[in-house]
């Protein structure tokens, strides 16, 4: 498992798959910092179609500064989002 450590800088893949996914549109292509590693969970993108969700994926909480998400992001605001490892790359 490649894995990201807490504090690692990560970028969310800029991808637009069809079908069910848990990566909100507003964070795609954006860069944040790993806040914690939540553990391994079954893959919702395949569970949603009746499959078993294996292999499991590492789930991270990534913290984004609001002004890294939006041009008009409020100062002093952070948004934290749960993201599965395949959606993340080192930044």
């Amino acid at each position: 498992m490649s894995g990201f450590d807490v504090g690692a800088s990560v970028r969310v893949r800029l991808a637009y798959p069809t079908g069910h996914c848990r990566t909100p549109f507003y964070c795609r292509g954006k860069t944040g910092v790993v806040e914690r590693v939540c553990g391994a969970f079954r893959n919702p993108e395949t569970l949603a179609y009746g499959q078993d969700g294996e292999p499991q994926l590492t789930l991270y909480r990534v913290r984004f500064a609001a002004n890294d998400l939006w041009a008009d992001g409020e100062p002093g605001v952070a948004v934290e989002i749960e993201l599965y490892e395949p959606w993340l790359e080192s930044a």
Binding site: L14, P17, G19, H20, Y26, P44, A48
Partner: protein
């Protein structure tokens, strides 16, 4: 329109402009509690007939107009029904007959 915007699901609304938040709630009705209970049972460890992820996929497949028109538990009802049809647990004919019988029993001609 930004790249990818065309692929954005109507349920994926974080960051959008939207109006004031209506803080008036409603007390859940019995039928709403029942569709909630049905989902918990069907997705539970004993039956494992539906996964929550499938419910969400089915809600995200209702289409934007239906999604906006229906109340929260009406969406659940539509999605769970679609999944039960998809999995062959019930048939459309059985559902139609049951709905017609229930309407007749309540004197609801529509």
């Amino acid at each position: 329109m930004s790249e990818g915007e065309a692929h954005r699901g109507y349920h994926d609304m974080g960051g959008d402009q939207a109006g004031a938040i209506d803080q008036e709630g409603h007390a859940y009705l019995l039928w709403e509690k029942r569709i909630d209970a049905m989902m918990v049972l069907l997705s539970g460890p004993e039956k494992k007939l539906i996964r929550v992820d499938e419910l969400r996929r089915a809600i995200e497949s209702l289409g934007p107009d239906v999604y906006e028109d229906l109340s929260y538990y009406e969406r659940w009802t539509a999605a769970i029904t679609a999944l039960m049809l998809e999995k062959g647990v019930v048939s459309q004919a059985e559902l139609d007959a049951k709905v017609a019988a229930m309407k007749a029993a309540r004197g609801d001609a529509a």
